[in-house]
């Protein structure tokens, strides 16, 4: 269901990116990067209109003809970005939320691995494999 998943660190540098079609990785890098501005905007408006922005899930960041880009930011300022095809109209908001929650759980396990140094790119094979399966069928 998703075509690209990215994990962005506290410093806004990518720690992990995985695309269904690896040839498009460069294109997605660009899209993910652009979406970070929207993330910052959403977070900084949090002070003004409190309420829904308390949620870690930020919802749709922006959409193009081809893609919809969703965002999620943890309390530790790690950003997850998910790109889905706009043609996928069956996708429900709840499914996107579930996907993010799974990513978040997976990510916390990576951080809890004593051999992972926080801030480093994520090289865990388990993480990579599971993210791929989440992208394909949300499991």
């Amino acid at each position: 269901m998703a075509v690209c998943v990215a994990v962005i660190g506290k410093d806004n540098s990518p720690k992990f990116i995985s695309c269904l079609n690896p040839e498009l990785e460069l294109q997605f890098h660009y899209k993910v990067h652009t979406s970070l501005d929207v993330v910052e905007e959403k977070l900084s408006s949090a002070g003004i209109n409190t309420g829904d922005v308390r949620e870690l899930y930020l919802g749709l960041l922006y959409s193009t003809e081809e893609h919809k880009i969703f965002g999620y930011v943890t309390n530790t300022k790690i950003k997850f970005i998910v790109v889905v095809e706009s043609a996928n109209t069956l996708l429900r908001d709840n499914e996107v939320r579930t996907m993010f929650r799974r990513l978040h759980n997976l990510y916390t396990d990576v951080v809890c691995n004593p051999f992972y140094i926080p801030g480093d790119p994520i090289t865990s094979k388990n993480f990579d494999d599971t993210v791929k399966s989440i992208m394909v069928n949300n499991i």
Binding site: K10, A46, G47, T50, V53, R54, E55, L56, V73, T74, N75, T76, K77, H104, N105, Y107, T108, V111, C112, P114, P118
Partner: protein, 156 residues
Amino acid sequence: MADEVSFEFLHTELVSYVLSSTEKDKKPCDLSTLEYIGFSAGYRIIERQTKEWPRFKDELETMKFICTDFWTSINKKPVDNLRTNHQGVYVLQDNAFRFLTRLSNSRQYLEVAPRYVAFTCGLIRGALANLGINSMVTAEVQSMPACRFHIQVQRT
């Protein structure tokens, strides 16, 4: 799930490992390793503990979470007193700190007390660091088993 006692056994052994390895090198008692192990554990555990938590609004709310919810769950009881000067200094008073209650209350143990608080200083500093707050955490033991933790937020 591991029992709470298991963590206490591990902590005691950690303290004696750090002490024996500094003794070996003839260095003065250096607790920074202990503090660092706490930091590393704190940094990681907070990632798990804030997973289901709504986004923190600001520093005060984050500090409140650390000094109340997080502290209580780690130490199995709330702090006895919490104060702040609203300028980045937070003082947590625990009248019977977990790792000190097992030592005798007599004065002779007072000088070894810093060993039993260094891990927790690191733990708090690590948890805060991952939540985006750089701080200095120190502890002061004046009479056993009470302990006062000072958190000083670094705003630079």
